[in-house]
Amino acid sequence: MGVVINDLNVAVSGTPILDGVHLDVRDGQRVGLVGPSGSGKSMISRAIMGLLPPTATCTGSIALNGRQLVGLPDAELAALRGAAVGMVFQNPGTALNPLLTVGRQIALPLELHYDVSAGEREERVRAMMHKVGLADDLYKRHPHELSGGQQQRVGIATALITSPRLIIADEPTTALDSMTQRHIVDLLVSLVDEAGAALLFITHDFSVLAHATQYCYVLDAGHIVEQGRTSALLDAPRTPQASTLVSAARALTLHADTTSTEGTSTGGRR
């Protein structure tokens, strides 16, 4: 199960964006998709969600839990979005509806896809809020009253409330400061593992992947140029594209030697 992408080609207004992409994320796997901006990372997540721009043409195969998505009518794709696939967006400030309270926001996918009583819905929302570390009194607050980190927790709760089997996180930490980044990544990882779901984590930053994923793909100009275990890729990238990203991540990560005394508190996942 999970999502299996085979020979996916996407072109927008005739310009090829993705070229023969193979990628699979199995249940219980956390997979990273890394590449510089403009490499087409977000187009993969949009293709899975069925949210490609109207001028896009798409060929190849995307099988979600064994079901072919390419060519599926929009109504059937809409039924999958939010139910079978949950999405965590880059900028929680704009991804949340400013007029909805936190409680209503998180309940939205439940309302759309499941026939649950109002009481049960609230119960499940409050339980989910507890899981993502949002205090109970935030239930009736609006997004603008929350910090960036809290907003992204709401985003995660919304993505996970229907217990989807696949979660796509598209640069979920880029808009956050480094400490909040770490908390959000840790939270996402623990929730996905607990649910046994599959995670596709999209980012341009290798150092985030080290915490979040076991396996990863490197995308460059619409091609998958390298794939492998995240730790192996970080230690010995084979292609120039991957090594650029790895060396940037390494140069811009706090060196272990400067912080020798604190090395233990990180509990590295590598």
Binding site: S147, H204, F206, L245, A251, L254, T258
Partner: protein
């Protein structure tokens, strides 16, 4: 604190800076008396999470915002940063500071006019200062080309290119060229790397290094939440948490032997 540097007169200093937002019952203080000094040739990094007040503090230092208490001095002269009662001396110091500073913002695509070429943007500070008064358009173009070369952008390709035809890293380097083309004494980089691809951040750091090598007496203030970026460039680190400076000192000291628990948390979050 580094005693040897404190003995010299600071290039730019904020003393006991206080700032509040809102009025009446909703008034809250975001900076509770912060003292920061920047010396010639020094790169001071102000770090902290979002909402720590680091952007507000540095904007006050550069005279872009007023403060409610304390003082900002540029080469020893107070710019009279608080309230509207800025005297003649304060105004003169303020003007001197404005002319002597350059700013690099977070998002280059928001800080460069989308309908201006790199040449238009980079030459703007020179044209505003009337610096090309006697030397004509060719000399202006030469200075812009020189600034672009310094940040490793080939003028032949970039001089007449628009931001939308550049990558984030290239556009940010154009923004750096605009900030340094007047050879400022103070350079502020306000989260200049957080909106940029990780792979391109190294190019930005190289550009800053080249600028500092060219102009070794230039003081630099770097606002960042990213310790990885900070360690490669900063001489001094100021750690800000909820409007209070919890720790400051040389980069090696702060990163190697952090005293405050908040600093330790920051370091833990940033280590791979």
């Amino acid at each position: 604190m580094n005693e040897s540097t404190n003995a010299r007169t600071a290039l730019l200093e904020g003393v006991d800076v206080r700032k509040s937002f809102g009025t009446g019952a909703r008034r809250h203080e975001v900076l509770h008396g912060c003292t920061v000094r920047v010396h010639e040739g020094e790169c001071v990094a102000v770090i902290g999470g979002s909402g720590s007040g680091k952007s507000t503090l540095t904007r006050i230092l550069l005279g872009l915002e007023t403060c409610d208490g304390g003082d900002v001095r540029f080469r020893g002269a107070s710019i009279g940063a608080h309230g509207g009662r800025r005297g003649d001396a304060g105004r003169a110091a303020m003007r001197a500071l404005r002319r002597a500073s350059g700013i690099v913002y977070q998002n280059p695509f928001a800080s460069l006019d989308p309908r201006w070429t790199a040449f238009d943007s980079v030459s703007e500070p020179l044209r505003l200062r009337g610096a090309h008064g006697g030397c004509g358009d060719t000399a202006l173009e030469d200075r812009v080309a020189d600034a672009l070369r310094l940040v490793a952008l080939e003028p032949r390709d970039f001089l007449y290119r628009y931001p939308m035809d550049m990558s984030g890293g290239q556009a940010q380097r154009v923004a750096i060229a605009r900030a340094i083309v007047t050879e400022p004494q103070i350079l502020l980089a306000d989260e200049a790397m957080s909106a940029i691809d990780v792979a391109a951040r190294l190019q930005i750091l190289d550009a800053f290094a080249a600028v500092r090598a060219r102009n070794p007496k230039m003081g630099m203030v770097l606002v960042s939440h990213d310790l990885g970026v900070v360690q490669t460039i900063a001489d001094t680190i100021v750690v800000l948490h909820d409007g209070v400076i919890v720790e400051q000192g040389s980069a090696a000291d702060v990163l190697g032997h952090p005293q405050a628990s908040y600093t330790r948390d920051l370091i833990a979050a940033a280590t791979l």
